[in-house]
C-alpha cells in the first residue's frame, strides 16, 4: 500500500436525527486503488459513501462528526465550498439516472455548469469522456438522441462518462451494476479496472464476487461500524475476524 493517500475519514460518526447510522469510522483511500465497501443492507455503507461528497447534506436531519479528509483537508470544514468538493469527488448512483436530454447534452452538463461554452472544447471533452467510459463506439452516431433511449447498461456507462467529464479526482460508485444484467455488469467491471489507473475509486457492492474481482482493498461494514478492512485477497481468503468470514461465506446477511 505505497500509493499516496487521497481520502480518509477519521473517527467519523453520522446521525440521522437521533439514529446513529455510522459509528466512529476511520478509513483511508489510496490513489489508483479500488476500495470496495461491503456489508448487509442497512449497515451504513451507502450512507458512508454519500457523506464523502456531502450528498447527505440534502437530508435535513443529517449530522456528521469527526473528519472526512480530501488531500488532508476536511471536506466539512467551515470554509469549504460543497460544490467544489462534488466536482472533485464524482458519484455514480445505483440506478442509472441520465437527464432527459440528448446524449451529448447529458455528458456536457457538468462542463456547462462549470461555465465552459466553447463548442469545440465541449465536443472534445464529451468525446474523451465517452471513450473513457467505453461507450463511445456505441453512441458516436446518435449523440443527439435522448439519453433515455439507451439500454440500462449503456445508461450507466453514460452516467460514468458524465461523472468523468468534469475530471474528478475520486469516483464514488453506489452499487453501480446492481440494476444491470450480467453482460452489462461485466462491462462496468472492466471499466472500473481501467479507470483505477487514473482515479481513486470507492465502490459499494452487494456482490461478493464483484468485490473480489475488482477491488484492491475491501472494507466490511456491519450495523454502522467498520468491522474489518484489509487487502481484498486477505479479506476473502483469511479474514482475521469470524464475523467477516461468516458474512463473506454467506452464513448471515
Amino acid at each position: 500500500m505505497s500509493n499516496k493517500m487521497k481520502m480518509a475519514t477519521k473517527n467519523m460518526t453520522f446521525h440521522y436525527g437521533a439514529f446513529k447510522a455510522l459509528d466512529d469510522i476511520t478509513l483511508e483511500f489510496r490513489e489508483n486503488q479500488v476500495t470496495a465497501l461491503i456489508g448487509p443492507s442497512g449497515c451504513g455503507k451507502s450512507t458512508f459513501l454519500r457523506s464523502l461528497n456531502r450528498m447527505n447534506d440534502i437530508i435535513p436531519a443529517a449530522r456528521v462528526e469527526g473528519q472526512v479528509l480530501l488531500d488532508g483537508e476536511d471536506v466539512y470544514g467551515p470554509n469549504v465550498d460543497v460544490v467544489e468538493i462534488r466536482k472533485r469527488v464524482g458519484m455514480v448512483f445505483q440506478k442509472p439516472n441520465p437527464f432527459p436530454k440528448t446524449i451529448f447534452n447529458d455528458v456536457a452538463y457538468g462542463l456547462r455548469i462549470k461555465g465552459i461554452k466553447n463548442r469545440g472544447e465541449l465536443q472534445a471533452r464529451v468525446e474523451a469522456s465517452l471513450k473513457a467510459a467505453a461507450i463511445w463506439d456505441e453512441v458516436k452516431d446518435r449523440l443527439n438522441e435522448s439519453a433515455l433511449s439507451l439500454s440500462g447498461g449503456q445508461q450507466q456507462r453514460l452516467c460514468i462518462a458524465r461523472a468523468l467529464a468534469i475530471e474528478p479526482e475520486v469516483v464514488l460508485m453506489d452499487e453501480p451494476a446492481s440494476a444491470l444484467d450480467p453482460i452489462a455488469t461485466q462491462k462496468i467491471e472492466e471499466l472500473i479496472r481501467e479507470l483505477k489507473k487514473s482515479y481513486t475509486i470507492i465502490i459499494v457492492t452487494h456482490n461478493m464476487q464483484q468485490a473480489a474481482r475488482i477491488s484492491n482493498i475491501t472494507a466490511f461494514f456491519y450495523m454502522g461500524r467498520l468491522i474489518e478492512v484489509d487487502k481484498t485477497e486477505t479479506i476473502f481468503t483469511k479474514p482475521s475476524l469470524k464475523q467477516t468470514e461468516d458474512y463473506i461465506t454467506g452464513r448471515f446477511g
Binding site: N53, V83, E84, K87, N97, F99, P100, R112, L148
Partner: protein
C-alpha cells in the same frame, strides 16, 4: 344465485355505474356546447367578429370585447405565471417544512376559496383606487392574476414534485448549485406539467365576470385600447350586460349566445396553444 354469479353481477353493475359517470360528464359538455352552438351560430358572421356594437348594442359586433378579453387574459397570465411558478419553486425546492410553510400553504388554499367578487372588490380598492391605475387593463389583469394564482401554484407544485429526486441528485453530484439544478434540470422537466395546470388558469381568467366588473370592464366602448391604462370591453361582462342590464334583452338573445360561443372558442384556442407547446416539450424530453 351462487357466489360466482353474484360476484359477476356486482362486477357488471359497478363497471356500468363507473362508465355511465364518465359518459354523463362528456354528454353534459356536449349538450352545453351544442346548445350554445345552435342558439348562437346564426349571430356569428364577419361583421360580428370585426365590428364594434351598434344601435345601443342591438346590432353590430363584439370586436372590442374580443380584444379586451384577450388582453386581460394575457395580462393575468403574465402576472400569475412568474409569480406562481416562483412561489411553487420556493415551497417545493427551498423551503423547509415547518410552521412558516404550513402557514403559506394554508394562505394559498384559502386564496383559492375566496369568491371571485371579493377579488373584484379587492382589485377595486387596491389597484383602481389606492394605486390609481383606474379601471384599466392593468387593474383587471392584476386582479385576475391574483385570482388564478392558487391554480398556477398548485399545478406547479405538483409538477415539481413529479420530477424524480434522482435528477436533482445527479446534478448536485456533478457540482451543480441548487439554482443550476433547478434552472437547468428540474424546471425543464416540470414545465409540461406546469403548463397543463396553467391552462386551467387561462380558462378561468378569460371567463370570470365579477373580478373585472369594477376593475377593467367597460359597458360600451367602440375604440380599442391604446395602453394598459385604458378601459376595455370584455366578453363575459358583455354577455352579462346584454342579458341583464340592456333595454333589449329578448331581442339580443342570439347576440348573447354568439358572444358566449366566441368566448369558449377563444379559451379553447388559447388552451390549444398551451397544449401544443406542452406536446413539443414532452417530445424533446420524456421520463
Amino acid at each position: 344465485m351462487d357466489f360466482r354469479q353474484k360476484r359477476k353481477l356486482v362486477e357488471a353493475i359497478a363497471f356500468f355505474i363507473i362508465r355511465s359517470s364518465a359518459v354523463i360528464i362528456c354528454l353534459a359538455l356536449a349538450i352545453m356546447l351544442g346548445f350554445l352552438f345552435v342558439k348562437g351560430y346564426r349571430a356569428i358572421n364577419w361583421t360580428f367578429l370585426t365590428q364594434p356594437p351598434m344601435d345601443a348594442m342591438t346590432r353590430g359586433g363584439i370586436f372590442p370585447a374580443i380584444v379586451g378579453t384577450f388582453y386581460l387574459t394575457l395580462g393575468a397570465i403574465l402576472v400569475a405565471f412568474p409569480l406562481g411558478v416562483a412561489s411553487a419553486i420556493y415551497l417545493n425546492e427551498y423551503a423547509i417544512e415547518g410552521r412558516m410553510v404550513r402557514t403559506i400553504r394554508l394562505g394559498i388554499n384559502n386564496l383559492a376559496g375566496v369568491p371571485s367578487v371579493v377579488f373584484g372588490l379587492f382589485g377595486l380598492g387596491l389597484f383602481v383606487v389606492f394605486l390609481g391605475f383606474g379601471s384599466s387593463i392593468l387593474s383587471g389583469s392584476l386582479t385576475l392574476g391574483f385570482l388564478i394564482l392558487p391554480v398556477i401554484i398548485g399545478a406547479s407544485e405538483e409538477a415539481l414534485k413529479a420530477v424524480p429526486q434522482t435528477y436533482r441528485e445527479a446534478s448536485l453530484a456533478l457540482g451543480g448549485t441548487k439554482w443550476q439544478t433547478i434552472y437547468r434540470v428540474v424546471l425543464p422537466a416540470a414545465l409540461p406539467g406546469i403548463l397543463t395546470g396553467s391552462i386551467l388558469g387561462i380558462g378561468r381568467a378569460a371567463g370570470e365576470t365579477a373580478p373585472i366588473m369594477f376593475t377593467a370592464a367597460a359597458f360600451y366602448t367602440s375604440k380599442l385600447p391604446s395602453s394598459i391604462f385604458d378601459e376595455v370591453m370584455a366578453l363575459p361582462y358583455h354577455i352579462y350586460v346584454l342579458a341583464t342590464a340592456g333595454t333589449h334583452i329578448e331581442e339580443t338573445r342570439h347576440l348573447q349566445y354568439g358572444t358566449a360561443l366566441v368566448l369558449i372558442a377563444l379559451v379553447l384556442g388559447v388552451n390549444l396553444v398551451a397544449i401544443i407547446m406542452r406536446t413539443r416539450m414532452r417530445r424533446k424530453q420524456t421520463y
